[in-house]
């Protein structure tokens, strides 16, 4: 390309007077950039209907839920992180853990703010722990994974509330215990599948243990939930 520019400058016009047989073969390709954008960002999203905008985000959130339900090693959760799903799950869980025991003085269950703080503060601490141990995951990616993997526990909470509607005896306790144990192991397994790749192999257990503790505490809060009489 530089050669072509140089040959076309008027400075070298005198060269045309020189008798050289035929055209001077120039090697190389000339690429003139055509002005078509290849990235999606250049496409303006201001003009699309609001429904499309919302649906696109909802589809992304839904796709991630599916990834949590069937955890295989895919990088979709990590690549396009978002915090909508964790926020939705956290608010749902905190609301359901309220239980209606707001009136009694002997209220022992966790308040909304306590659940919120435990989930977010716990996720931040686990992320910091993972990064300090030399993990290659970014801060918000880790928050995203930990938040989305609360989904099995939220499902377990819904199931527990339904079971408690039928009575709160020994049978319902055993059913709830099984459901909560299964969902807590599912959460731990799902988040480990995403997070463990980002750690050096001699520190994997050091990173997995706080995640186990985190989901264990949330599972405990779900299991000990007792509605007011």
């Amino acid at each position: 390309m530089a050669e072509v520019d140089e040959l076309s400058k008027p400075m070298f016009a005198g060269l045309s007077d020189v008798s050289i047989s035929g055209d001077i073969p120039v090697e190389g390709e000339i690429n003139v950039p055509v002005g078509t954008p290849s990235h999606d960002d250049e496409y303006s999203t201001l003009d699309e209907p609001v429904k499309d905008t919302i649906l696109r985000d909802l589809k992304a959130v839904g796709k991630k839920f599916v990834h949590v339900m069937y955890p295989k090693k895919s990088s979709a959760l990590l690549r396009d992180w978002d915090l909508w799903g964790p926020l939705l799950l956290c608010v749902t869980l905190a609301l359901m853990l309220q239980g209606g025991s707001v009136d009694s003085k002997e209220d022992g269950g966790p308040q909304f703010a306590e659940v919120f703080v435990i989930i977010w503060f716990g996720s931040v601490i686990i992320t910091l722990n993972s990064k300090l141990l030399g993990g290659t995951i970014s801060f918000f990616q880790s928050l995203c994974v930990l938040g989305y993997c609360i989904m099995p526990l939220t499902v377990a909470m819904v199931v527990c509330r339904l079971v408690l509607l039928g009575g709160s005896g020994m049978v319902s306790f055993i059913v709830r215990l099984i459901v909560v144990t299964a969902s807590f192991s599912w959460s731990t397994f799902a988040s480990t599948a995403f997070l463990a790749d980002c750690q050096p192999s001699n520190r994997k257990a050091l990173v997995v243990y706080p995640v186990f503790l985190f989901y264990f505490v949330i599972g405990w809060m779900i299991l000990t939930f007792s509605p007011s009489a």
Binding site: G109, L206, L213
Partner: protein, 311 residues
């Protein structure tokens, strides 16, 4: 140069090495190792580490590699960067496992810090052991309440979530403020009496953190609603973790005046005992309450509400 050779004569125990050490390369090697050894000294006042590095520097080429490594280790980032704190998490799974096992099985003559910490104190163990202990105490206290009052129709189960915050405050302040006070005390005594062994703040935090690890199985045993089992487990746990602390800190204070040394060790043990019995009394007190309630039933014929607990 002359100062360096004087320094050589003072530290070296054999003069024959001086003939090996000629030339410019070795002289620069020794001066860099001086700064490396010098920065080691505030941490440990034992002379063994610099002497071994002097003995090994017969080969000038190997020295260049070692000085590169040594100067790389001593570079520390400023405290507002992330890398500064990454230094304290430089442990692997098997190291943490060894440290926990070492704190569970203390042996007279084996110093926890020298044997397991090896100049590499970490913050992972103390932080997560304390977090586990907080949640285990709260959960097991809840379970023990439930088991004690099982079968009583008037008892309504409440998950007492407030206790988690109280347990967290107690355990974390014990595991971080007591080492701070102890470290300050040891530094002050060090300025008066030269001790052979001295510990840095992080090593003391490490010892306290890992010594709390033995309480986790003990607290799980406290679920069993029999007083004999609870007393046995608390005594065994106290002996194990107390002996880890005593064996660690005795070499640091034994060169001091005997009254001061005994006073420091008594304070360390007393605080530890206070923590154990305080936790037991606050979180697991329902057995005593139930017995007094049963006595009240026998005495008065009315049943006192079981939810009145000692707060």
């Amino acid at each position: 140069m002359a100062a360096n050779s004087d320094f050589l004569l003072q530290f070296q125990e054999f003069d024959s090495s001086e003939s090996h050490l000629g030339g410019i390369g070795d002289a620069t090697t020794i001066s860099i190792e001086d700064t490396a050894a010098g920065s080691h000294n505030p941490q440990k006042q034992r002379r063994s580490a610099p002497v071994t590095s002097f003995e090994e520097d017969n080969d000038p080429l190997a020295n260049d590699d070692k000085t590169e490594l040594l100067s790389g280790q001593k570079k520390s980032a400023p405290f507002w960067t992330f890398e500064y704190y990454q230094r304290f998490f430089d442990v692997e799974t098997h190291q943490v496992r060894r440290r926990i096992l070492g704190s569970l099985l203390p042996w007279p003559g084996k110093n926890f810090v020298h044997l397991y910490i090896h100049n590499n104190p970490d913050l992972y163990g103390p932080f997560w052991i304390c977090a586990t202990l907080v949640f285990v105490i709260a959960i097991c206290g809840n379970i023990s309440d439930f088991l004690v009052f099982l079968g009583e129709p008037q008892y309504k189960y409440v998950p007492e979530f407030r206790k988690v915050t109280i347990a967290a405050t107690a355990i974390y302040s014990y595991a971080w403020l007591v080492p701070l006070a102890l470290w300050g005390l040891l530094v002050w005594r060090n300025s008066k009496v030269m001790n052979v062994v001295s510990y840095s703040f992080l090593e003391i935090v490490c010892v306290y953190g890992y010594s709390l690890a033995v309480y986790i199985p003990a607290v799980v045993l406290w679920i069993i609603p029999y007083e004999a089992v609870r007393w046995l487990s608390i005594v065994v746990a106290l002996c194990l973790s107390g002996s880890v602390l005593v064996l660690t800190f005795w070499p640091a204070v034994r060169d001091d005046q005997p009254r001061v040394a005994i006073a420091i060790m008594t304070a360390v043990v007393a605080l530890h005992v206070l923590l154990a019995f305080g936790c037991k009394a606050y979180f697991f007190s329902t057995l005593e309450v139930k017995h007094t309630a049963v006595d009240a039933v026998a005495g008065h014929g009315t049943k006192s509400p079981p939810t009145t607990k000692i707060q």
